[in-house]
Structure formats: C-alpha cells, structure tokens
Amino acid sequence: MSALDAARDHFLERTGAFAASAGRQDPEWLRSLRAQAVANFAENGLPSTRLEEWRYTNVTPLAQVLFELPDAAPAQVTREEVEALSFPVFACSVFVFVDGRFRPELSSPRALSGSLRVESIAELRATAPERLAGRLGRHADPKQHAFVALGSAFLDDGACLFVPRGTRVEQPVHVVQLASGVAPDRVCHPRLLVVAEPGSHVTLIQDFVSLSGARGFTNAVAEVTVEQDAAVELVLLQRENTASFHVSNLEVRVGRDARFAAHTLTFGGGFVRNDLNAVLEDEGASLRLAGLTVAGGEQRIDNHSVVDHALPRGESQQRYKCVLGGKSRGVFRGRVIVRPDAQKTRAEQSSANILLSEGAEIDAKPQLEIWADDVKCSHGATIGRLDENALFYLRARGIGEAKARELLVQGFASEVLASLPSPALSEGLAEMLREQMRGAGAEEAAP
C-alpha cells in the first residue's frame, strides 16, 4: 500500500471517532457537510503528483507521518508566551487559537466596532448555528480539493467574522493560530470565515506560529466573501517551525465593485502549500495579491493561485516574490482565467525569484487563459541570483558580505513589505526578514 493510501485510511479511521465525539449537537446541514467531506476524502484520498495541480508538490513526506488530532485537554499556554510572539502592531484586537481551538483567556478581543467581534466557530455551532448556515462551507468545496475535504471532515473550530453592511473596522483584526507542540505529530484544521457585507471594510491578519520545534501539521481552510462595494484586506503570515507541514486553501469571492487584497508572507514551515482561489464574480471587482517567500535549509514552499474573472471590468494584480537559499525549493503556479463575459478585464501577474545558493530550486509557472477579446493582460516570471555588481558595490563601501546580501534581499522584498496595510507591520516584518536572512547567511557560510 502506498504512503498516500495508508494516510488516507489513517485519517478516515479517525473521522469515525471524531464524528462520535464532536458535533453531535450540530444541525443536519453541518453534519452532512462533514459526512460529504468524508465521502469525498475516501474517494479521492491525498493528491498524487499525477494530478496537474500537484505535479510539483509531492505530499508523500506529509503522508508518511500519521498525524493525530490534538488531545482533548487544552495545551498549557500562557499569555506571556503569546505576547512574546507578538509585534507591537498586534496590540490591536487579538484572537488566539491554540491547536485549532479558540482560547478566550489568551485573547484580547477589544470591540472592533459597536458589538462586532471575531467569533469562534465552535462557539457559534453550539449557540447560534443558524448564523453559519449558508456561509460555512459555501465556497470551499471538498470535491475540488483533497485538503479541503480533510479539513471539512474534521471541521471543529476557527475564526469567524461577519462585518455588517456599511461597517468600517478601522483597526486590523489579528487572529493567531498557535501550534503548541505540546505533543508531537498533531494535526489541526483551523477554519477562517469572513463575510464582508455591502460597503463594509476590514483588515485581518492571520498569523500561523509554533510555540516549539515539535513537528506538526496545520491544514487551514478559509472562505472570504466580499460583497458589493466592500473591501477586505488579508495578511497571511506563516512562521511555523521548519519541522512542520502547512497546507492552506483560501477561497475568495469578490462582488460588484468590491475590493480584495491578500499578502501571503511565508518565512516558516518545512513543507508549505498555499492555494488561493479567487473568483471576481461580478462587474468591477478588483483583487490584489502580493506574496513574499523567504526560505532556506530544506524548506519547500509552494504558492498556487487561480484568479477567475467572470464578468466585465474586473482588475487583478498579482506580485509574488520568492528568495530561496540552502537546498530549499519553491513553486509558483498562477492561473488567470478571463471568461467570455469578462470584457474590459485588466489582469497582471508577475513572479520574481532569487536563488541564493546552488542547491535552491524554483518552478515558476504563470498561466493566462483568455476567452474574451477586449482585455489587457500580462504575465511574467524571472529567476536570478543576487546582482554580483550590486554585491561588490556594497562591499566596496565596507559593508560585509552577509550584510550586503541581506540588504539586497531586503531591497528585493521592499515592494511587498511596503504594500502592507500598516507601517508598523511593514517594519515588524522587515525585522523578521533580517532575522531570517541572518539564519540563511550563516547557512551559506557553512557549506
């Protein structure tokens, strides 16, 4: 039996126990959502590299670890431990999840606007499941994505934010997804559900971080609906330890004259696969995606996006940047689809990559599929090394080689960092990048 089949059987076996313990009070629609996901997962299992979407991502290493759900007793985590991980900017509203479960005692849920706050999906399931109906599981389709099926089969908790019509949330909302690592080889399936009603505005930061070096698996599923004239900006920060696996599926629907932006920043994780699927489903929808990956060692970081322009006058811009050192590997695969009705679409996509070492590798594959004739679309990919002339120029000014490399990478990343929704966040991440580079620099020095 292959590792993929063994892992499928392992996870399926656990769904039985999970269904018996969790969610017995859930309404019929939610139980059938889980059951359907189990059926889909049983049928499709984990994806093999024979599938086009998974050609560059071999999940065998993930399948070889038989991950278990976290223990029933919540992991011991203190507020100090959480605060030590935070940036100053995150002193806004913080909602902390540990091993996929909401921990109100670790959170600082300052009111966002009126009575608006982030809610826990587990809590809502128990108290007001009707508010989740028609929203949870609406866009993330277990039939389409194996890991969505897996995450939906174990659907338990996560962050949920419904922004009412016309509400403008000024402060960024910060959701922390902590992997405690108290026991090794645990998997959690955190959800994120955001619905921005017409004319509303919100910025949300989701921060994935490990408390220890223990190996774990985070299988995140997120659904974001941006209704007419609304605006949603997401910052997705990945800084889990490099022993860990991370798979995320983000489904986005952007409505008429609505705006969505996502910044996917990946520094951590040993095996990371991010899928972002966005449909610009009404006229005048706009979308901006920025990605920054900085990795070294044996990390492998894959970013996949599909941007689907369904109706006229949509605009999308994607800028992904990737810096790889050591023996790390990266993938960027971006598809832009312009449907026959999507006239006057403007779509731009770029993937710029820097390899710091001989052993690093990137596969960059931008794709355009255009079915309309009155559109303006462009795409491009570049792969290079750090500019030797620039490196010499900096060194000739007394700047040591490691610092010079760090400066050049920072310069390369600055466009993505500058696009973040707050200067404090940009600065915090620039510092994180410097630390990451110092790690990578040390590694280059020792061949």
């Binding site: 060194r395 700047i399 400066l407």
Partner: protein
C-alpha cells in the same frame, strides 16, 4: 602609502595588466591615462578587489600590508575607496540607509562609535550640500533612476562621508556635462589633503583641468609606458595616445 610591484592581472581569462610598478605617497594625486582597453579600469578594480579580476603575479602593498589577500569590504574599511565608473542601482534600498550602513561599518572597523540617526542625518546633509545634491536623493533608492551626473555626485558624497585614505576615481568624468564636471571636481578637490592620496583614472585631459594632478602616468597594453608631471597630460591632448603607444590608438 600604496606600492604596486610588477603587478599582473587577468579578467575573464584575458591578461590585462602586464607588470605595473607604481608608488603613491600620502598627499599625492596621480592621474592614470590611456586609450580604451589599456587596462585603466582593471587597475582600479584590482585595487578595490572586484571578484573576477585575478592577480597572477606581483604585489600590492597598502600602508605596508599586502592588499591582495583582503576582501573588498576589508579594503574599504582600511581606507580604500573606489568611485565607480558605473555606479550600481539598488532598488528598494534607501540611499540614506545605505550610506549609514556603510559609514558605520567603516567606523566600527576604525574603532569609532557608530553614528545614531540624528548625528548621521546632520553629517549627510552637510556633505550633500557640498556636492550640491538635493536631499530628496537621500530618500530615494540607491542610484535608481538617477541621471549620470547624479550618480557621480552620489559617489563623491560617499567618498566625502567615508573620508578614505586612498581614493580611486574610475572615469568619474564619463557622461558628465561641464557643470556637473565642475561640481564633481570641486567635491574631489575639497577632499585633497596631505594625509590622503588619490588616483584619478581618465581617458581625457579635460578632467585634469579641474583636478590638477601631481603625476601623470600613461598605460598602454597593460604597462605604464610613460610617467611625468601634469604637463604630460597636455602633451597627450595635443598629440594623442598614438605618439606613446606606437599605433593609431584613439
């Protein structure tokens, strides 16, 4: 201060310098002239330590120590400054941040304390004024979108901030109009001092009207074929390089 003995160097597999002997003392300004392809810029690059330029024979001593074994950054920290013929654009790195990082790296090596943001700003403003550089260039990315003249001013600004012991100006006059040339030369002259030496590399005599050298050397085919005083430059202007190289070189 600087002593080159029988220096041979190659770049890209080609032998370019074929036995250069040169002594530069503190306070002196040496002009190095020569036709295109004679090895002038290779000489500048070999002194600054550009990777890919390889010394195959001979010695370079700087203040009594072997220079060739030092990394480019250690040469800069020891007081060698190369003003680049083609200053490099570095997108995303603010010029002021670059200047501050550079100065503090050199100060640390000299055993001096690092300058904080306020002290640095005061210093850089004063020096920028001297090379008539608008302060907005400090906030922009290093050399990005700068005109030829602005790039060269930025080189002289760096030199003024780092206060090197030995400055090597590699075709600093190339691509400059007469006004920019005057400003750049003024910046260089302000830095002349009895403790500091300069090597001015140029194709044309024009620059030497503004930066008057103590010595002039002519390089042809990787060797110094003639040395003399400043009047040698005028003679070259009149007769062309062919007179010394025996060919019809420009």
């Amino acid at each position: 201060m600087l002593k080159l003995s029988n220096l041979h160097a190659s770049a890209g597999g080609a032998r370019i310098l074929k036995g250069i002997d040169l002594v530069v003392r503190a306070g002196e300004v040496h002009a190095v002239m020569g036709p295109n392809g004679s090895g002038k810029s290779t000489l500048a690059n070999v002194l600054a330590g550009r990777p890919g330029v390889e010394v195959t024979q001979g010695r370079v001593e700087f203040e009594g120590k072997d220079l060739i074994s030092l990394s480019p950054e250690d040469r800069a920290r020891a007081g060698i400054f190369l003003a680049f013929q083609y200053p490099v654009e570095i997108p995303g790195v603010a010029n002021s941040y670059f200047l501050k990082t550079s100065l503090n790296a050199v100060r640390r090596a000299r055993g001096e304390s690092e300058l904080d943001a306020m002290d640095f700003l005061a210093l850089v403003r004063e020096k920028a004024k001297r090379v008539e550089m608008d302060e907005k260039f400090l906030q922009r990315a290093v050399n990005e979108g700068f005109s030829g003249g602005e790039k060269k001013r930025n080189e002289i600004l760096q030199m003024a901030i780092l206060e090197p012991r030995l400055a090597i100006l590699d075709e600093t006059d190339s691509g400059l109009d007469i006004d920019a040339l005057r400003v750049v030369a003024g910046g260089v002259n302000a830095l002349r001092s009895p403790e500091r030496a300069m090597i001015v590399i140029t194709h044309y005599q024009r620059l030497l009207d503004y930066i008057v050298p103590d010595f002039v050397h002519v390089i042809a085919d990787g060797r110094i074929v003639r040395s003399g005083g400043k009047e040698l430059a005028l003679e070259l202007e009149e007769k062309g390089y062919g007179w010394l190289t025996g060919g019809a070189a420009a």
